[in-house]
């Protein structure tokens, strides 16, 4: 033995120190990644919210150099919001009606979610449980719409809606969306998970199909129904291209169109754009935060992952 071998105790101590060091390095990189992700995904959101609560000139004044002042209003004001809601004199003069646009959007989104819950549930129950000649062909007909790209057919859709005579009405914003292949697919996956014995027992007891659906299927698929409703709500709330084309009247303007028209105007008022963006996104963000637990469970259960 030319080299003195370290004692056993020292060896253990050294490997423990190494393990500790490795753990510290691991934590360091995790924290670093954590900070980076938070910065990338939250900074734009925080900038939007902070800037909506300050006068536009303050946005420009503190943008450079970057510091906490870039994000936190020094002169706190609700003027931007008063403007876009048409409460302030300036807002009225510019014809801003974000309140109306919000109500329109809330109405249309609720109407679509409500009607789509009824019709998609019926159709999903049909595909999950009922017998019908050539049912597979019908399923192909429904799933085939997946291959019909929405944005690509929006112009032709407008031509059809115009021919039917309800362009530029609330119907134009609601009717095309009352059924969705995606929702039918996901819901029927959920329904298939429910044991068949439950509805068979109910049918032997003399229950009709509708009451089986109401008393057996729906109560057992609450998470699924909630998940698709949430997705559908944010889908309709965030629609832009279709409402832009289907409606021209200002009384029918939805919130996303109201936000977008602000930036295509000649003079861009930053504060009002930020305020409009906050108003357009906060309701959905809050809804998702409130229902997040169910939503994550729903996505995991729905087989959405493929």
């Amino acid at each position: 033995m030319s080299v003195a071998s370290p004692s056993r105790a020292a060896q253990i101590a050294r490997s423990q120190r190494q393990a500790q060091l490795g753990q510290i390095i691991g934590w360091f990189f995790t924290l670093l990644a954590y900070a980076l992700i938070a910065a990338v995904f939250l900074t734009p959101v925080l900038w939007m919210i902070g800037s909506s609560l300050r006068p536009s000139r303050e946005v420009f004044q503190y943008i450079f150099p970057l510091s906490w002042r870039t994000f936190v209003p020094l002169e706190f004001t609700l003027q931007n919001f008063a403007d876009i809601f048409g409460i302030s004199e300036q807002g009225r003069a510019l014809g801003f009606q974000f309140g109306r646009a919000l109500l329109n959007t809330a109405f249309v989104s609720s109407a679509v979610v409500g009607s789509s819950l009824v019709f998609n549930t019926l159709a999903a129950y049909f595909f999950a449980r009922l017998e019908f000649p050539y049912k597979n062909l019908l399923l192909i007909f429904v799933l085939g719409t997946f291959f019909v790209p929405q944005e690509a057919t929006i112009v032709p859709l407008y031509i059809v809606v115009r021919q039917l005579g309800f362009a530029d009405t609330y119907w134009a914003l609601i009717l095309p969306w009352y059924a969705s292949p995606f929702v039918i697919f996901v819901l029927s996956q959920f329904f298939q998970e429910i044991p068949k014995e439950l509805d068979e027992a109910a049918i032997i007891d003399g229950a009709s199909l509708l009451s089986v659906l109401r008393h057996v299927i729906v109560p057992n698929a609450r998470v699924g129904l909630l998940t698709v409703s949430l997705l559908e709500f944010q889908f309709i709330w965030n629609l832009f291209f279709w409402p832009l084309i289907a409606t021209g009247r200002k009384e029918l303007q939805v919130i996303q169109v109201a936000v977008a028209t602000q930036i295509t105007q000649r003079e861009i008022a930053w504060g009002r754009i930020f305020a409009g963006s906050v108003v357009a996104s906060l309701p959905v963000i809050l809804l998702f935060l409130a229902l997040q637990r169910y939503f994550v469970e729903g996505v995991a259960l729905s087989g959405l992952k493929g």
Partner: protein, 306 residues
């Protein structure tokens, strides 16, 4: 015997009638959805096919039937060629970046460490914001004079950039904004996929002496195949239909560097009052998407088994 013979037909018709009745009732469950898809998803395609063979505008109505002239014109339209180029570049650059980023984020946030749920929520926030709000806010982030990104560049001592008016930077800017918005959705799907991989596979691999890279390469990736294909297929279809960020950030410019197909269709139909040609270009986009989805589906089917 006589009684049986006389009773048997009526009994048989009773069953028959009951069966017919059940089929009719079942049909009623799915009828509303079928009607919706027929009118709002399939008929527009037929309508577009028809309109594409006419000189047709919303204001002027149908004028002359011109057969395949619009399609011949499309073959020689330099703007359409440019637009196809821009759209394919957008998809080919955005898709791999987004999926790779989503995979990294999913693996990172799927660790059993504190705060990872919060991290997933942060990454998911842009997903529930509307594309309009995201593009409007990113247009201001990328603003040449007072944008947040240029403030960051200047703070770091780098020269400022005119992101949206430079034809070399405009498309990358749009891609960045849309990845920022969409990556959270892919992340959630991949997290759901990761949670579906039984831990025993990892334990077995570790027993066999696998390191982290081996685990990722030989356990995670193969078992995530279905999820990843699902993400790629859906994101391809969505990405080909990009419209809103172009509409609100660049209006297709500068020098047509961001003129994606759907934006070109919108311009043709609604700005240039050339709805017939817009319908023809819609049909071309439809055909491209159909070809891509069918190819991907075949690929998906042949790769499902592992």
């Amino acid at each position: 015997m006589a009684t049986f013979a006389s009773r048997s037909p009526s009994w048989w018709t009773f069953i028959q009638r009951r069966k017919t009745r059940n089929v009719i009732i079942a049909g009623l469950f799915v009828l509303p959805a079928i009607v919706n898809f027929l009118i709002f998803r399939y008929i527009p395609i037929l309508w577009a096919a028809r309109a594409s063979t006419w000189q047709y505008s919303l204001l002027g109505g149908y004028r002359d039937w011109i057969g395949g002239d619009h399609y011949l014109r499309a073959l020689e339209d330099p703007i359409l060629l440019k637009s196809l180029q821009v759209t394919f570049t957008y998809v080919i650059v955005k898709l791999p970046l987004e999926v790779a980023l989503a995979l990294a984020l999913a693996i990172f946030t799927n660790q059993a460490r504190r705060g990872m749920g919060t991290m997933r929520t942060i990454v998911f926030t842009p997903v529930v914001m509307s594309m309009v709000v995201v593009s409007v806010v990113w247009a201001l982030i990328l603003n040449a004079d007072s944008g947040l990104l240029n403030a960051l560049l200047r703070t770091l001592g780098l020269p400022k950039q005119v992101f949206l008016s430079n034809p070399n930077l405009s498309l990358p800017s749009v891609i960045t904004a849309t990845i920022w918005k969409d990556v959270g959705f892919s992340t959630i799907l991949i997290v759901a996929g990761l949670k579906g991989i039984p831990g025993i596979f990892y334990e077995a691999a570790v027993m066999d002496g696998a390191n982290r890279w081996h685990l990722f390469r030989h356990v995670t990736l193969p078992l995530l195949r279905r999820t990843l294909f699902f993400v790629v297929v859906t994101q391809t279809i969505f990405s080909f239909q990009v419209f809103i960020p172009v509409y609100s950030m660049t209006q297709g410019g500068p020098l047509d560097s961001t003129k994606v197909l759907v934006f070109y269709i919108y311009q043709l139909g609604f700005r240039f009052q050339d709805m017939g040609y817009a319908a023809a270009v819609s049909m071309i986009l439809l055909l491209i998407l159909l070809l891509i989805s069918v190819t991907q589906m075949r690929f998906l089917r042949s790769n499902v088994e592992y």
